[in-house]
Symmetry: C3
Subunit: 203 residues, 3 copies
């Protein structure tokens, strides 16, 4: 089915599939962290797979004269999708680096927001491949709303952390994890913004 | 008076008015923090107002064929003005999140730099609306100089903090506030850079 | 020899020479920190010199009608080179701000990566001036690989820091220095990405 797809749209779709897979893996395992080393390693594997998709797109761009949308847009979209994977992988790695084995309610809530954002990204990327440009607005708005939720969650989470946690080193670790999870949600928003900009110039 | 204005320039001007209002409010109230909850709430209200201006510009861009300057430039300028409001609001919220009620000399000095930067931004945005492109260079240079002052202030402030503050949690809180204030000044510089790039390509 | 050079390529080359000089100075002196004030001051001097090159390029862009590559590309490349200098100078200044006089193995390893990245940047910038566009790919790939090494080093360094350092204020200081060194390597990667984008559109 993907064989007939344009190579650029097909690979962007594979990147969005990997984002869904990574966010779901993260959400599932972060709530029951048995082995942080395996957890970080599995996330790294998905991130490396995404890097290979980036490489495919770059290589194809270099040998293709006519692209379905502007090459600069393909590049920017690819980079922003890659940033999402890098972001969630960097979060996962901190559990291993900081030996954190007891996640908390905020981490679980962030993970849920990221899963929902990932599905909206996938939806939007597939709409791009099907040239349903105007339909992209809906998932783009949903991603923006999820990002607002992540921002609110960061504020409540960090406020609670400062109120409860008296060990400064524990506080540093957890604050950074919250911030990186929120930043990953920002990267999802960058994908949405990039898509809206493509829609604006092509419809 | 604004009725005759182009909708894009008019809305950008309203954004710059809100930046001045927010920075002045911040500077006035941060030196005598009676109620951090009200302080954070008021700043959030101004930030939300700015989000509505962004929405107006986006909606207009989608239904307008001919724009006074390139649509990409309008978008980039809008985003950079929005970042300034987001930045100063994020600073204000930290006073509430961290229960900080005793500001210090550095916070006051940062606030003063931001008030001055906000006025230069407003000046430059109005010049854009009046098509006085070459005149924009002057406020743009002023914003860059203020950003250098903010950077120097951050260094002195953080150095002093590490020399004086022995409670690591207090240090984390205040260091973050200084850094976010300095970052807001960076966002002001981004507005200036964006304007200079528009001037360069249109004069 | 440089007299015949195009002013833009010539100045970009001088920026890349300064990046090599600054990274080598940093690597040489960070391992034997006798006077952190002199160390920070010398690095600041190189950073200011780079600011003057940026100013030269901006001034020339404003009075030149035909540029050898697109003006937007010259601007973006200039900014990304300037970011590298700003990044390494900000690292150096932290040794003075935090009174750190005993560097560690990780700082030395980061410095080595930055020296190697700086040489690759210089190589690539000179290739641009000589219009050897396709040859740029090789140093660009090398810079990307060095950035991956810096990212791995950050993870090992921070993990070790959290395992060993029990003083939270010491931990904050050193974590920030590692992160800023890694970020400088990200700025080097931005230069490479920018160059690859220029190559893509001009070959």
């Amino acid at each position: 089915m993907k064989k007939k797809k344009n190579i650029f749209f097909g690979t962007l779709e594979e990147m969005s599939d990997t984002i869904v897979e990574a966010c779901e893996y993260f959400a599932k395992h972060v709530s029951e962290l048995k082995d942080v080393t395996v957890f970080a390693k599995d996330m790294k594997e998905m991130e490396s797979r995404c890097d290979r998709y980036v490489h495919t797109i770059l290589t194809e761009l270099n040998k293709t004269f006519i692209t379905p949308i502007e090459r600069e847009d393909i590049m920017a979209l690819t980079t922003s999708l890659d940033d999402v994977l890098d972001g969630i992988e960097a979060c996962a790695s901190r559990f291993e680096m900081y030996h954190i084995q007891d996640p908390d309610e905020y981490i679980t809530l962030f993970a849920d927001i990221l899963v929902r954002s990932a599905h909206q990204i996938k939806k939007a990327i597939y709409m791009l491949g099907e040239k349903k440009l105007l339909a992209i607005r809906e998932p783009a708005i949903a991603i923006n709303e999820l990002e607002n939720q992540a921002d609110d969650l960061l504020r409540v989470g960090v406020k609670t952390l400062f109120a409860r946690e008296k060990d400064p080193i524990e506080l540093i670790k957890r604050k950074e994890i919250y911030e990186r999870l929120e930043q990953t949600s920002d990267y999802c928003e960058d994908v949405a913004d990039r898509l809206e900009s493509i829609v604006m110039r092509n419809s």
